[in-house]
């Protein structure tokens, strides 16, 4: 059995893999399947993110009209969901998630720096498929990013991060704009919306966590 083709193929190959898949893959999937079924993007649109979305229209009326259209009370939720979804696509495609994580741990005083510890229910939606936990933090964690900074701060920051955070090593994303931070294109608008959406489901959106880590950015704001 230990040195035969069938033993290796079925026990080591298929069997042990299946065991691990059930034990550490299927268990968490089934645990949350009923309790927190996957929500659609539109269900994740809330009052907080709509405020930011309308603000984006006010600040950048021309690009907004060109790429997203006019907001009406009937269509704004759907348009917002579509924009966040596109923002996630940009976030994934640019590899943002390789330098920014999206979860707050209960250790290393992260609650003081970023806010409340991440909970399972926050991730059970279409916009966390694939989940954007991340494994490296060159830059700050982003799961509580929404509402901390204004839309135009994000625009200027994506255009040239060092103009707002002098020690930042983040690359410039000039291709989110048409030549100036005043003219974000579809990708720029979408990514800003996505940033503001992160954490918008929390009751304490707009809270400034007064840790030292935030001081410099707030000063610049």
């Amino acid at each position: 059995m230990f040195e035969s083709r069938s033993g290796i193929f079925f026990i080591a190959g298929v069997g042990f893999f299946a065991l691990a898949f059930v034990a550490s893959g299927l268990v968490p999937i089934l645990m949350y399947a009923d309790k927190y079924p996957e929500k659609k993007a539109i269900e994740m649109v809330n009052r907080n993110i709509l405020i930011q979305f309308r603000d984006l229209q006010t600040r950048y009326p021309e690009p907004f009209k060109k790429y997203i259209g006019e907001l009406t009370p009937e269509n704004e939720a759907a348009k917002c969901a579509e924009t966040i979804r596109y923002g996630l696509k940009v976030y994934t495609g640019e590899g943002c998630w390789h330098c920014h994580s999206q979860f707050v741990r209960p250790v290393s005083r992260e609650m003081e720096r970023w806010g409340p510890v991440s909970k399972s229910w926050e991730y059970q939606n279409e916009l966390q498929r694939p989940v954007m936990f991340g494994t490296r933090r060159v830059g700050p964690d982003l799961i509580r990013e929404g509402g901390r900074r204004s839309n135009d701060w994000h625009a200027a920051h994506f255009f040239k991060p060092q103009s707002l955070a002098p020690d930042s090593v983040m690359p410039e994303y000039k291709w989110f704009f048409e030549g100036s931070p005043l003219k974000p294109n579809d990708r720029g608008l979408a990514l800003i919306t996505y940033m503001q959406w992160l954490g918008s489901w929390m009751p304490n959106y707009f809270t400034q966590y007064k840790s030292q880590g935030q001081a410099i950015s707030e000063g610049d704001q």
């Binding site: 550490s24 968490p28 495609g93 590899g95 991730y123 498929r129």
Partner: protein, 463 residues
């Protein structure tokens, strides 16, 4: 070079091994190696604010970082393994692979997969799965390619008579695992499962790719090449059994250790930590077996370059696994998670172990494939020493700065402070990277000159 002469040890009248295919796989691997090095260099320059290509979309460091990892995993490591398997499997089974045409088709298809992955990533279409950023429209093609690889190599293994050698255990398991891992990681979190479950699956994918694709193929080939070059059998068959079955049982269970302190249930995190520590014990038995094998002929590690590459890789392997047993504990994770410690660890595994082993195989096989000596043994030495010194420097700097970053975050320093303290270490990383690149340039140039030599020697008798 139309007709490749058979090696003296091959059966006359048969074409057991497709020499030209093995060589082409290796050459393709080395080409992708340079793509990967370019990606690493761009990201390293960006992090030290020295990137000369700022603000250009197609040189985006974020995208090139993904090319860096994908080119090494699917471009270098996968190609080099396929080449080495085309050498080892027919010799171990004494049967040719299923079909020569299929072999060539797989070669071409795999290059299409790797190149379109690179192009897809460059155009911002990456998939949100670490080590699996291959755009979603390529995934089915890659999966089909992996199935064909398994069929092509499993045929001679099924046809062979008599007991199977250790290497073949690892190969059989690897063909099963690679297919299952790829399917699980690339399709489930993309289409079916969100959130915490996707995190668990993603963690398993990251780790299974290393533990169930790269590791079993790597060890399988070590079990083949080391005894052949040393001209003596493995030290202990019992330890070979323990190593294989221990790895098979514990390795798949470790995946969640990539996402400790996430909302993934805590009891699953504990399970992954314990399995990871168990893997370290298994690894120790394998290492003992290989050092028992070389015991008594240790001089070959100095004199014989392939053996030196192999055993240097094994030392790094032991170090990474030892590091792993500690770093996956919750105590270490609280500080070093998210830091450059992990980046250092990944470089030690992927470059220091598997790429080193494949360099050893290439150094051993190219002269046999091309029927000529290496152009320069001195350049081969430069390649070895520049790679080893560069890598040691790089991982030392990264692992050390990882600890500093972790403590800087834990003390609630300004975020920028963690960047400022990293700068000197990131400078060292660039220097180390340039040393590694210099080593690979030596190797590529040496290989080119060796190829020219081989053309001359082959043509000479007919001229």
């Amino acid at each position: 070079m139309t007709e490749t002469p058979l090696p003296p040890d091959a059966q006359p009248g048969t074409r057991l091994v497709l020499h030209r295919l093995v060589g082409l796989y290796f050459v393709a691997a080395i080409v992708y190696m340079f793509a990967s090095l370019t990606g690493g260099l761009i990201m390293a320059l960006q992090l030290t604010d020295l990137n000369p290509l700022k603000g250009i979309e197609f040189f985006s460091p974020g995208r090139w970082r993904m090319i860096h990892t994908n080119a090494i995993a699917y471009g270098f490591i996968a190609n080099a393994f396929l080449g080495a398997l085309h050498w080892a499997v027919p010799r171990l089974t004494l049967k040719p692979v299923l079909s020569v045409k299929l072999s060539w088709f797989i070669f071409l298809a795999w290059q299409v997969v790797v190149l379109s992955t690179a192009v897809g990533i460059l155009f911002g279409q990456a998939q949100g799965l670490e080590w699996g950023e291959t755009p979603v429209w390529i995934d089915p093609l890659a999966q089909a390619g992996l199935v064909l690889v398994a069929i092509n190599f499993m045929t001679p293994i099924m046809k062979m008579k008599g007991p199977m050698y250790v290497s073949l255990w690892y190969f059989i398991a690897a063909f099963v695992w690679t297919n299952l891992t790829y399917a699980m990681g690339n399709f489930l979190p993309e289409y079916l499962i969100c959130g915490v479950g996707a995190g668990a699956i993603g963690g398993m994918f990251i780790h299974d790719l290393v533990g169930l694709f790269v590791t079993p193929l790597g060890w399988g080939l070590m079990y083949y090449f080391v005894p052949i070059i040393l001209k003596k059998p493995m030290w202990s068959h019992a330890l070979s059994l323990v190593g294989f079955w221990g790895l098979a049982f514990f390795y798949p269970l470790t995946g969640i250790h990539h996402f400790l302190y996430t909302p993934i249930p805590m009891f699953l995190q504990y399970g992954a930590v314990i399995s990871t520590i168990a893997v370290e014990f298994v690894v120790t038995t394998v290492i003992i077996n290989f050092f028992g094998t070389i015991w008594g002929s240790s001089w070959s590690a100095f004199k014989n370059l392939p053996i030196r590459w192999f055993y240097t890789g094994m030392v790094f392997y032991f170090l990474t696994c030892l590091q792993c047993a500690f770093q996956t504990t919750l105590t270490f994770q609280a500080i070093i998670h998210f830091s450059d410690w992990v980046v250092g660890h990944a470089h030690m595994v992927m470059f220091g172990v598997f790429v080193f082993w494949q360099f050893g195989m290439m150094v051993y096989l190219f002269p046999r494939i091309w029927q000529t000596e290496w152009y320069s043994t001195r350049l081969l030495e430069w390649h070895y020493w520049l790679s080893t010194i560069g890598l040691t420097l790089m991982i030392s700097a990264l692992i050390l700065v990882g600890v500093f970053q972790g403590f800087s975050w834990a003390t609630l320093d300004l975020w920028e402070e963690s960047i400022r303290i990293s700068m000197p270490f990131w400078m060292v990383r660039i220097a180390a990277g340039l040393i590694i690149i210099a080593g690979q340039v030596c190797f590529a140039y040496n290989l080119y000159r060796t190829y020219l030599l081989s053309r001359r020697t082959v043509k000479a008798p007919g001229a």
